[in-house]
């Protein structure tokens, strides 16, 4: 299974998760883990998702997620999990 990490940071508002997750569902991307906190009104979410279905065009998938972030006024990143695994696991 290929995994990616999606992080969403920005001012809290209605429908952030809904918007991001709808797009993911359209792409057949399954959420494996999700954690979310709000600190001082700032929304902070991290999802670990299964990207097997979009692996062939990951750049396209992540580009669209970033676009959605811009529309929402949120800072969204979508990175392959490997960078975190490499850095934090021996």
């Amino acid at each position: 299974m290929k995994k990616a990490v999606i992080t969403v940071v920005g001012k809290d508002s209605v429908g952030i998760i809904a918007r991001v997750c709808t797009y993911m569902a359209d792409c057949n991307v399954n959420i494996l883990d999700i954690s979310q906190t709000i600190v001082d009104g700032y929304f902070n979410m991290m999802m670990i998702v299964d990207i097997t279905e979009v692996d062939h065009d990951f750049a396209g998938f992540s580009g669209k997620i970033i676009e959605i972030g811009e529309e929402l006024g949120m800072d969204i990143h979508c990175q392959r999990e490997d960078i975190f695994e490499s850095m934090h696991r021996i």
Partner: protein, 454 residues
């Protein structure tokens, strides 16, 4: 599974601490391009570089998107041109034609630098190599992306003082030909001792003759990340300080290893080495001098600087070695003055001198790097500075290099502007005294004895 803290730590390093992969350098062997005809040679060189390097930039950009980390430079290094062109080049201008070919190939595949306009003459020069070296000033003045290097000494051969003498003249000539742009040609010209065959960093990058047909070498960076980590290390012992640097270097290097692996897979090119380096940029906070300050020095150049740098350099290697499958290149902390805003500030304030920088090169990566000096510096003084640096490398069995820029028309206290990653630097004075009789001697300094280390 990865947790939120780890994810935000990584992303903070990238966004706020300038963590990046400094360079993916594709090494391309040109030995199979050799021909008696300069036309055929240039065509083969152009074809091979553009064929193998066609997807390099695209690959780098794709990796940036996949992992969310900037890959700052995508570059190419080639077999030393003095060798490749030896049978085809009859006059200096023929070598310049090869330089133009390299420049065109580099621009057509979209890279910013191509290295390997080089000669390996640590012991002696062939007539072709002498002719090649004479072509360097012209080659650097008519091209944009070409980087040149000359290996003039090694621990095993000693120092080729004939080459050092010539290089004093060549650096000066290059400065004169590019005087309109603050002698920027010299920023792309380096004289080396004990040069590695697999260095991914410009300007001294070339693909050594010991290498295969093509190879990916990756240079990592991250002075800002180390500095940030050390913000929490005030009051700690040396053991704790060292552990902190090692852990950070490990993390930085693992990213380099990941990127190198992915680039090799995408380009179908074998992996060479990871260069474990801390390479500063002119960006605020991305500075080696700032790390030294964070370790407890008032400014770079203060007493204790050499010791702090030695510690830093060693811990970076110790942390990085475990994170990478193969390590090579120049591996260590770089101290290029113009490319490190705080180092340049120290130089401008007079708190760091060329002599102190020379002492620092005994314990860290490379050497006198990107130092702007007065434009009226004589060619024998330039050779003298080179000989000193070569001697440090030769005796200590390490790579050393000289990339100094005599800025024509400017004197000590003024500033030189190079732009981009090359930054800008104050012009600092060089030591007084004449060395022309010493430099004027023919031959080479013999290789040092490897026993009785004192």
């Amino acid at each position: 599974m990865i947790n939120l803290y780890e994810v935000s730590q990584t992303n903070h390093m990238i966004e706020s601490e300038n963590l990046d992969v400094r360079t993916i350098t594709l090494g391309i062997s040109l030995t199979d391009c050799i021909s008696d005809s300069i036309d055929v040679l240039c065509k083969r060189i152009y074809d091979k570089i553009t064929r193998l390097g066609r997807d390099l930039v695209k690959t780098g950009e794709e990796i940036e998107k996949e992992f969310g980390i900037p890959v700052v430079n995508k570059r190419v290094s080639v077999t030393p041109i003095a060798l490749v062109g030896a049978s085809a080049c009859k006059v200096e201008e023929d070598y310049v034609r090869i330089a133009k070919t390299l420049d065109k190939a580099a621009q057509d595949i979209g890279i910013n630098f191509i290295g390997g306009y080089s000669a390996l003459v640590p012991k002696a020069m062939t007539p072709a190599e002498e002719m090649f070296i004479r072509s360097i000033p012209k080659a650097l003045s008519v091209t944009e992306c070409v980087c040149s290097s000359v290996v003039a000494g090694s621990t095993r051969t000693g120092i080729n003082m004939d080459a050092v003498r010539v290089m004093g003249r060549i650096v000066r000539k290059t400065a004169e030909l590019t005087a309109a742009e603050d002698s920027i040609g010299c920023a792309k010209l380096v004289v080396l001792c004990n040069a590695p065959d697999d260095n991914p960093f410009m300007a001294g990058s070339f693909l050594g003759v010991t290498e295969g047909d093509s190879v990916i070498n990756v240079g990592v960076s991250g002075p800002g990340v180390v500095r940030h980590a050390l913000e929490g290390a005030h009051g700690m012992s040396f053991a704790e300080l060292c552990d902190m640097i090692k852990k950070t270097a490990f993390k930085i290097t693992r990213v380099g290893q990941l990127v190198a692996g992915r680039a090799c897979e995408m380009l179908d090119v074998p992996m060479g080495i990871i260069d474990l380096s801390l390479a500063p940029t002119p960006a605020v906070g991305d500075s080696i001098a700032d790390i030294l300050t964070e370790m407890g020095l008032e400014h770079a150049g203060a007493p204790g600087t050499t010791a702090a740098l030695a510690l830093l350099n060693d811990q970076v290697k110790k942390g990085g070695v475990m994170a990478a499958s193969y390590v090579g290149g120049l591996s260590g902390a770089f101290i290029p003055v113009s490319e490190d805003a705080s180092m340049a500030l120290s130089a401008a304030n007079g708190t760091i001198s060329i002599e102190k920088l020379e002492a620092m090169t005994c314990v860290c990566s490379v050497g006198l790097d990107m130092i702007a000096i007065p434009g009226d510096t004589s060619e024998t003084t330039l050779s003298g500075i080179m000989a000193d640096e070569m001697a440090i490398g030769m005796v200590n069995g390490k790579t050393t290099a000289v990339r100094i820029i005599p800025v024509i028309g400017k004197k000590a206290g003024e500033r030189a502007h190079f732009g981009g990653l090359l930054g800008d630097a104050p012009i600092i004075p060089v030591g007084k005294g004449d060395c022309s009789e010493f430099i004027g001697r023919n031959g080479r300094i013999p290789a040092p004895i490897h026993s009785f280390k004192n």
